[in-house]
Symmetry: C2
Subunit: 281 residues, 2 copies
């Protein structure tokens, strides 16, 4: 397994691989890997000749009051986990090598980015789109895997690939959960024992909404109320949003008539967790 720190070297190696007819699979991450990330690698591994994982805590997708500096990092552990998944290359650049001084070109998605997490985190998806476009150009993947936990990000990346004509297949990786149902996230590490227990309310509220929906409830106000009540009953849980949006356009819906993404963000102290499910009529 190669560790590549230089963007120029990453691109040179990737172009050489493409020229020799090999296919490249790509899993972009911010490191501090967990089974969720590993499941994305396992999805990509059989689909490509060369599997590249990037580990880059991208500063441009963090807001000024967010957890950029505190974001957990453990490269040695990540390296071992990648080796165990038969990853061929880890791309592990320094922020100073990824962004030139005076960098002034941004990739902006303007239709799907304003709702859900985009509302709570202005500029977040602009940072995500820009760094992913850069990584795509550096790693030259034939396919890239993104997790469904970050539902909005996944849809925005799919849109970017379509609208900028990247020759890349985006593969969706299902949400991985801890044994008790909490969606895996590097940010779970921030939770106290008490918060960790309380955080189960995200999944419980999604289970409840699925059950209500299966029982025939299609009205979004009513479905949302069920979720909000379950979460509000939990001490220390502060709802950022509970949204029901069209699964393709991410526009809010009032009734579940078509595939509907139910997404929520809940804060425990300064830790913000997200989860989602899809209701299919």
């Amino acid at each position: 397994m190669q560790i590549i720190k230089s963007p120029e070297e990453m691109q040179r190696l990737a172009l050489d691989l493409k020229r020799s007819g090999q296919t490249i699979g790509f899993v972009p991450t911010m490191g501090f890997l967990h089974d969720g990330h590993l499941s994305l690698m396992r999805l990509a591994r059989p689909k490509c000749d060369v599997l590249v994982v990037s580990i880059f805590v991208n500063p441009t997708q963090f807001g000024p009051n967010e957890d950029l500096d505190a974001y957990p990092r453990d490269f040695e552990r990540d390296e071992q986990l990648c080796a165990d998944e038969s990853v061929d290359m880890i791309f592990y650049p320094e922020p100073g090598n990824m962004y030139a001084a005076g960098a002034s070109v941004w990739v902006d998605e303007e239709s799907l980015s304003g709702v859900l997490c985009g509302e709570s985190r202005p500029g977040h998806f602009r940072g995500v789109c820009t760094v992913v476009a850069k990584l795509f150009n550096l790693v030259q993947p034939d396919l890239a895997v993104f997790g469904e936990k970050d539902a909005q990000q996944l849809r925005i990346i799919e849109r970017m690939v379509r609208d900028l004509n990247f020759p890349i297949e985006i593969v969706r990786g299902p949400i991985l959960r801890e044994a008790d149902g909490l969606a895996m996230s590097s940010r779970n590490k921030y939770l106290s024992a008490e918060q960790r227990k309380n955080a189960l309310c995200l999944r419980r509220s999604l289970d409840a909404v699925c059950l209500n929906f299966e029982q025939g409830e299609k009205n979004v106000s009513s479905l949302r109320k069920t979720m909000a009540e379950l979460i509000d009953a939990v001490s220390g849980a502060e709802i950022d949003y509970i949204s029901f949006v069209d699964d393709a356009s991410l526009e809010p819906v009032e009734s579940v008539q078509f595939s509907t993404l139910v997404a929520l963000a809940v804060k425990f102290g300064s830790t913000r967790l997200i989860d989602n499910t899809i209701l299919v009529p």
Copy 2:
């Protein structure tokens, strides 16, 4: 020579070429080709295995009151001219195939785009960056040639390639001029005989500023005054801008201390012409 209308086919062919180790040179145009375009093809031809020219009048770089519909087109003539330059492929897409309904991803350059033509044409360079990023992903060039006549566009594309890490060498093509000095442009066709003669004031003002500068004048107010007087003396010539900017940052300068781009735009009726030169101390 192949004519390719489908973006998907263009990309498939380009990826096949890359996989077989061939290099691709690219000259993006809006068609209605003149010797200026042909000079860009002649620059690219010896540097690549396969030369691709795109002909696409890109709607997203035209403002609502600009000349999109009137923009001159003559594909048959363009086709012959490309064949004469040993072009291998013309990529000639329909606007409806280049932009999906509801396209929502844009590439924005935010430092070099606000001045010069960007000031007169809001949104223009966003349209340019976005379509060039799309064309780069479809054509997969190793090198692309852009003309120095569109000085600001050239620098913005160079910035985009740097900031988004496109693996593409940008080659600068010198300005080509008619025998009497008018910079070649598809828009020259709009000029009446009278306007065509008067349009020489752009080049004359640039010659005058170069002479003044060689004689020791470095003060921009004084240099600009020389140019403005020459142009104002011409009937029907309306100055859009005469700008002296740092050649790298495009920030206005008051004195020519470093490489300085002198750029101007002048309107004759509804036809807007641009020209430029560089003063090197």
